[in-house]
Symmetry: C2
Subunit: 110 residues, 2 copies
DNA sequence: TCATAATATTACTATTCAGCAATATAGTCA
DNA sequence: TGACTATATTGCTGAATAGTAATATTATGA
C-alpha cells in the first residue's frame, strides 16, 4: 500500500486523536460499556468541560457513537479497532522494557 | 488489559510520534529498505535539518535502527509493527469513506 | 593538517491544542 | 413558563513542537 500526501495527513490525524492520555483514558472506560459525560467526568476526576471537549474530538474522528437519553448523553465505542492499535503499541512498549531490563542486568552482573 | 496513568502517557507518546505526516512519509520510504539522510531528504523534497530531526525522533522512540557508514548514516525500520498500525487506521478510513459515499448516494437517488 | 561532504544541533518563529472558568444550550418536570 | 440538571461552547493561557537558517560535528581523503 502506497499513500499520497492527503492520505498521510488523514492517517496522522487519527494517530493524533489517540495521542492524548485523557482521550485514551476515556476510551479505556468506554471499553467496559457506554458512559455518560457525567460518569466519565467523575471516574476520571476531570472537569466536565474538558471531558465533553475530548469526547467531541473522539466523536468527530468517528471513533465513538453518541446517543441522547433525556438530558444526559451516552457515548460508546464505535471502532473496536482502536483497542487492537493500543495492544500493538503496548506490545512494543513491553518489548522495550524487557530489552532495557536485560541490558541493565547484563551491565550489573559482570 | 488495564492501564495506569504512566502507561497511558507512554502509549499516547508513541501515537504522537506517528501523528505527523512527515514522519509517516519517512517510514513509508524506509519500508522499501534502509535509506540515508540524504536520500530521504531528496526523495521527500524536504530540508536536511528537518529530516534529520524527524529521524532522531523516530529513532528515540525505538522505531528505527541507525548505522554509520563512513560519513553517511543509514536508517532502517526496527519495528515492522508500525505498518500493522497504519493498515488498521487505513482500514478504518476506507470504511468511513465508503459510508460517506453510501450516504451521499442514498440522499441523491430518492 | 586542510578541504570537503554528510549529518546533527541550536535558536528561533508560528501554529496547535489541552485544560480552564464562565456561559450558553437543551431537555425535564413542576 | 420557570427552575433545575446535564452537556456543549467560547475565549483564553501556557506548553509543546514542526519547520527553518545558521552553525557545529564527524568522517574521509589529499
Amino acid at each position: 500500500m502506497r499513500y499520497d500526501q492527503d492520505q498521510l495527513e488523514a492517517v496522522a490525524g487519527l494517530f493524533r486523536v489517540l495521542a492524548e492520555p485523557t482521550r485514551l483514558a476515556i476510551l479505556q472506560q468506554l471499553k467496559s460499556g457506554p458512559r455518560s459525560v457525567g460518569e466519565l467526568t467523575e471516574s476520571l476526576d476531570a472537569r466536565q468541560a474538558n471531558i465533553s471537549k475530548q469526547l467531541g474530538i473522539l466523536y468527530d474522528a468517528g471513533l465513538l457513537d453518541r446517543e441522547r437519553q433525556g438530558t444526559t448523553v451516552r457515548y460508546a465505542i464505535r471502532e473496536p479497532m482502536i483497542f487492537e492499535l493500543c495492544e500493538l503499541v503496548c506490545g512494543k512498549l513491553r518489548r522495550d522494557a524487557k530489552r532495557k531490563w536485560a541490558t541493565f542486568r547484563r551491565t550489573r552482573t559482570r
